[in-house]
Every structure is written in structure tokens, then in C-alpha cells.
């Protein structure tokens, strides 16, 4: 078991012929992900690392059994690509593009919701269930099969933390990047509820950052719904006020979104707090 993806996941790559799409397709395939087809409008008929390319998602699903899609389509066209995948009845989508206008994000999230589909992202590295499936851009040597579920806004921070874990032989069940925000198709609490249900996941790592109030809400959710141990790390303790720290959502506005407020809320709700990634494996070994 793993959450959202496993060995049986059959993946469609949208934007497969692009620079990033083709490069990451090869890495995902080498990792063992079943990449069954790809789509790029106007590029149908060719093959990318063995995966047949179609002009339309509908053509790909007619020919192949597909149950998930990862999109490397640029921000400008990301909404249309999401509509196309949802209309072709694909139920799970990873949307990697950074810089999609907020109105477009709202539309894709609401459309997916109406059609019972799930969007992970946008602006996400995707997700990886080590040893089973990778739908994302993770450097895979920092991941290994195990019992810890990781949820993170930042991709790179999840690589950093999983690297520390693997160095101490602590592996992961699934590592989910929800994206840099400020809008999320799948939230921290959505992922936590999946980890709570997942038999393979014995402990959870929550990687958050300054900005907004998601971690405060998540803390409340942990208190009410999660009985597995949760280790949390919040970055941006030393960030200046009012400056956007890379992610669209990572900004302290007035008194909202500080690291202290998030850390305090999580501590109060029973989460174990890690100050730096290197502390995380030890804290996990104490509770596993």
C-alpha cells in the first residue's frame, strides 16, 4: 500500500515532448513508473522513450488503460490541459507548472471537484512512493521504501529531509509535494487523512513554511483526526516580514503566517517539532 499511487498506477504524461517533459519521462520510466502514453498537441505519432505520443488525451485513453496524469504543460496552457484530462475521466492529476494565474487555478480545482477528480499542485514536484512509483521530478537516491509518510509544500525541502532520513535508514511510504501555493488542489489535511488511513504509514512528517494559515488549520486537524505520530518542521524562521520568499504563498503579511505561530499551533496540537531536517530521523526512530 501507498497513498495516491502504487505499482499499478498507469501514467499519462501531458507535455511529454517538451524539454522537461521528455527528460523527466525518462527518469520516471527508469525508476519503474508505468508511463503508458503521452500527449502534446500537434506532436501525435512519435514515441518518447518508448511511450506513444497522441494529439489529444481522449485518443490516449481510448488506446491505453490510464488512471493518472502528470502535466509538464507551461502555465499559460495548464488550465486547458487540466480540463482535457478531467474530461477524459482521468481521476488523479499532478500539475507541475509554476506561475499559473490564480483564476485559472480556481477553475481547475473547482472543475476537478465537480467531476470527482483530484489535482495535486499546481507548482508541485509531484509525489513518490519509493520502490513503487514516481510521478514527479524527485532525485530518487534520497528516497527509500519505508513507513513514514511525508507531506511538503516545497519539493526541495522534502528531498533534503528524505536525504537525512535515508542516511539513517528511515524510509518513506509516500512523499507528497502539495505545491508552493497560495492555492492548493490537495491540502496538507487531505494528505494527512490519506496517511491516517494507510496501513503502511506508521508516522508522518509535515514540512511547512511561513505564510498563510494552512499549518494552523492542519494543527487543529491533527488534534482531531490523526493518531499517528506527526513530526513537523517549519522553515522561514529567519525570514523578514512582508517579503515573498520564493513561493507565491510564502510571505508574512501583518501578523499572519509567522513561523512561531505555526510551530506553536502544531506543538499545542500534539505534533513533535523538529528545528532542522537532520533532527527528523532521530525523532522518527523514537516513535516508530
Amino acid at each position: 500500500m501507498a497513498v495516491l499511487i502504487d505499482k499499478k498506477t498507469k501514467v499519462l504524461v501531458q507535455g511529454i515532448t517538451g524539454r522537461t517533459g521528455s527528460f523527466q519521462t525518462k527518469i520516471m520510466k527508469d525508476y519503474g513508473t508505468q508511463i503508458v502514453a503521452g500527449v502534446t498537441p500537434g506532436k501525435g505519432g512519435q514515441k518518447i522513450y518508448g511511450a506513444p505520443v497522441y494529439d489529444f488525451v481522449e485518443e490516449a485513453v481510448a488506446e491505453h488503460d490510464i488512471n493518472a496524469a502528470i502535466s509538464f504543460v507551461p502555465a499559460k496552457f495548464a488550465l486547458d490541459a487540466a480540463y482535457e484530462a478531467i474530461d477524459a475521466r482521468i481521476q488523479f492529476m499532478v500539475i507541475t507548472a509554476e506561475g499559473i494565474p490564480n483564476v485559472d487555478i480556481l477553475k481547475m480545482i473547482q472543475y476537478a471537484r465537480a467531476k470527482n477528480a483530484r489535482i495535486l499542485g499546481p507548482d508541485t514536484p509531484g509525489l513518490i512512493s519509493p520502490g513503487k512509483c514516481k510521478m514527479g521530478v524527485h532525485p530518487d537516491r534520497f528516497f527509500k521504501e519505508g513507513a513514514v509518510g511525508v507531506v511538503s509544500k516545497s519539493g526541495a525541502l522534502s528531498y533534503e529531509v528524505c536525504k537525512s532520513m535515508v542516511e539513517k535508514s528511515v524510509g518513506q511510504s509516500t512523499v507528497v509535494g502539495i505545491g508552493g501555493g497560495p492555492l492548493w488542489g490537495t491540502s496538507q489535511t487531505d494528505v494527512l487523512s490519506l496517511f491516517q488511513e494507510d496501513k503502511e504509514t506508521k508516522a508522518i512528517v509535515l514540512l511547512g513554511e511561513i505564510g498563510g494559515t494552512m499549518e494552523e488549520k492542519t494543527a487543529q486537524y491533527i488534534r482531531e483526526h490523526i493518531d499517528k505520530p506527526v513530526v513537523s518542521l517549519i522553515v522561514g524562521r529567519s525570514a523578514p516580514l512582508g517579503k515573498r520568499m520564493g513561493h507565491a504563498g510564502a510571505i508574512i503579511e501583518g501578523k499572519v503566517g509567522t513561523a512561531e505561530s505555526k510551530i506553536e499551533a502544531l506543538r499545542k496540537c500534539g505534533s513533535i517539532i523538529a528545528k532542522i531536517p537532520r533532527d527528523i530521523p532521530e525523532l522518527l526512530l523514537n516513535v516508530l
Partner: protein
């Protein structure tokens, strides 16, 4: 991008939201000509991109031309929260019968636009939300249906107003969608003998929509260095360690660790996903050009970013620029190639983030 009140009001006017007739002046405007076009009494409103303008004395009234000239001079010498007043909007003073509050923004939890109405206007909505939450009425808007007739009736009833409010809300929502606004706020919206008037106007346009919103090419704002060099993020700080990271989360982590180890970063910069050799070269150029930077700390754990390209950018930078101490933490996608390339050019790299940061902090204290 935040708009000035006068810029937002231009958009309001275009979409049919009633605003007062006004004239915009700068220090170079011929005041004799400008003041002849207005009818007194007038209100003089400093145009600054921050709140709390009224409390800071940025809004003044004038009953004749002479008084206006004196007060304009006063306003132009004013600074409001470090923003100097460079533009003033002069409008006819309104006869206010009642003030309310209206705004449309994004509800980040529900993932939809939300219209916020308050039966009391002119005050900070945050303060009102705490003091008298019962006066605030939120309407979630379905992005595919837009504002429904029944929700408009609910809003009007809550504010004890008539059908003229319907049109105004619809116009606000159409601006919100068509202009990629992240916020439209009218505070206050006033009832006058001549009907509803937007006395103030606040708008924030989604920067991510710059490719499809004309306004970004029409309005000039001082561009920051990050944009100039195509960096995702560049934030100036006070210290002496020039920081470049390839992800926002690890960038913030590195900044935290620099502080923990007793160092001070000169900046925060982040390359964002899918970059190339030029991006990191430009980042190094921007970061090292700050005079007090003693050491560069490059912190990379690549997913989308490929380390061979990062290495190429670093090597080219040092061929084109004067030497500066550098600490490179490199791992992730195509790391073997990147590390080998750097080693051949005489650069050490490390896998260990903590070691890299400690080394950079040490170097920043030595020189």
C-alpha cells in the same frame, strides 16, 4: 501588482462603477490649470501603495484654490510609512449619507472568489471583523456560475440597500475575473443624493497573469533586480553571505541555518524550477554585485534543475568575473556530471548542507 487608487478608479469607470470626477497631479503639474478644472470644496488624496493613509494625514480637504495650493504643498512633503507622496488625486468632496464596505478576494480555503460586505464602511475591515463580526457578510462565488441573483438579494438585504447595489456587485465581479484581480476593495462605498459612489478603490492584480493583462505593459513600476535578470526571487538582507538556492523551501531552510550558525545572509535568492546555466550565472552576478558580500553560498538539491547546467553556469561566471570565495553544496539530478565538471575546474563541492553553511559562515567572518 498593487494599483494606485487613481489607476483602479480608471478601471472602475471603464466598467461602469460610479466614481467622482477628479484630476491627478504630480509635482510637475501646472496647478493653476489643474485646479481650474475642479469645483470646490475638494478632497486631496495622497496616492501611496500602503494603507493607513488617512491616519498619517495623507488626506486633506480644501474649500478654495488658495487653501488647496497650501495643502498640496504639505502633502508633497509627506512620507507615509516610508513612501513619499509623488501623486495626488483631487476629487470633488462628496455629500455622504451612508458608508458601506465591499470587496472581492480569493477564499484560499474554499478555493473560490468571495464577496465581503459590511454594513459599516470607512473603517479597517480587519478591525471590524474582530469587533463586530455580525456586521460582516461573506458570499462565496461559484467560479463557473458567477454571482447569482439570489445572493445579490441576500447581500442587498444584509446591507439594507436597493437594486442599484446589484449592478455594482456584478461590475466588481466582472473586473475581478477579466482583470485577473486578486483583490478589489471599495471602502467606503457611499450613498449620496446622486446614487452610489466608490469613494476609495483598492486593486491588486495577479502578477502571474502579466502575460495576458495589458495593464502590466501600460503601468511602469520600478523593476527589481530579480526581474531584470530573470530570477525567481531576490530579497535584499543586511548581512555578508550571498545566498543562492535552487528551491524556495531549501532557500528558507538555508537562511534559518545561516542564522543558527551565527552568520548573516546578504540576501535571499531562489532560482525556481526549470532553470539553465544562464540563470545561475545571472543570480551569481546579482548577488555578488552587492558591495558587502564576502562569500557566495550556493545551496542546491536539484529535482527539476539539472546539476550539469548549474555547474556550467558557475564555471562561466568565474571565467567572466573577479574571484570571490564560494562554497558549493551540490546534489540531486545529474549531480555526478555537475560535480565532475566543477572538480576539473578546481572547485570543491559538498553533499552536506550543514558543512557548507558552517564553512560559509566561517569565511564570512574571516575576511
Amino acid at each position: 501588482m498593487k494599483l494606485f487608487e487613481f489607476e483602479a478608479k480608471k478601471i472602475f469607470k471603464k466598467y461602469g462603477i460610479p466614481v467622482l470626477d477628479g484630476v491627478v497631479i504630480t509635482k510637475d503639474t501646472d496647478l493653476n490649470v489643474a485646479l481650474d478644472t475642479v469645483s470646490f470644496p475638494v478632497v486631496l488624496k495622497s496616492q501611496v501603495l500602503t494603507g493607513g493613509r488617512s491616519l498619517a494625514g495623507g488626506i486633506k480637504f480644501a474649500w478654495d484654490k488658495k487653501e488647496a495650493l497650501t495643502k498640496i504643498k504639505e502633502l508633497f512633503s509627506l512620507k507615509i510609512k516610508k513612501y513619499p507622496v509623488e501623486t495626488i488625486l483631487i476629487e470633488k468632496k462628496a455629500n455622504i449619507k451612508r458608508e458601506v464596505y465591499l470587496s472581492i478576494t480569493i477564499d484560499r480555503e474554499k478555493n473560490c472568489p468571495v464577496l465581503i460586505a459590511c454594513s459599516e464602511g470607512g473603517v479597517d475591515i480587519e478591525i471590524n471583523a474582530k469587533k463586530t463580526p455580525e456586521k460582516i457578510f461573506k458570499t462565496e462565488i461559484d467560479i463557473f456560475r458567477g454571482l447569482t441573483e439570489y445572493s445579490l438579494r441576500q447581500i442587498a438585504k444584509k446591507l439594507d440597500m436597493g437594486r442599484d447595489l446589484f449592478d455594482l456587485c456584478k461590475q466588481m465581479y466582472s473586473i475581478f475575473m477579466r482583470c485577473d484581480a486578486n483583490l478589489i476593495e471599495i471602502n467606503p462605498l457611499v450613498v449620496t443624493d446622486a446614487g452610489l459612489v466608490a469613494i476609495d478603490a483598492k486593486m491588486v492584480i495577479d502578477d502571474k497573469a502579466s502575460y495576458r493583462q495589458e495593464i502590466f505593459s501600460k503601468i511602469e513600476r520600478k523593476e527589481n533586480e530579480a526581474e531584470k535578470y530573470g530570477l525567481s526571487t531576490y530579497v535584499k538582507l543586511e548581512g555578508d553571505i550571498g545566498l543562492i538556492s535552487d528551491g524556495a523551501g531549501t532557500g528558507m531552510l538555508t537562511l534559518d541555518l545561516i542564522t543558527d550558525y551565527g552568520g548573516k545572509a546578504a540576501n535571499f535568492s531562489e532560482l525556481g524550477g526549470v532553470t539553465n546555466a544562464d540563470t545561475i550565472k545571472n543570480a551569481m552576478k546579482v548577488v555578488s554585485s552587492k558591495p558587502n558580500v564576502k562569500v557566495l553560498l550556493i545551496s542546491m538539491i536539484g529535482g527539476l534543475n539539472r546539476m550539469n547546467e548549474m555547474a556550467e553556469g558557475i564555471i562561466v561566471f568565474f571565467k567572466e568575473h573577479d574571484p570571490i570565495p564560494v562554497v558549493i553544496r551540490m546534489c540531486g539530478t545529474l549531480e555526478e556530471i555537475g560535480k565532475k565538471m566543477l572538480k576539473e575546474e578546481g572547485f570543491d563541492t559538498t553533499d552536506d548542507l550543514y558543512e557548507a553553511i558552517q564553512k560559509a559562515v566561517k569565511l564570512s567572518k574571516r575576511c
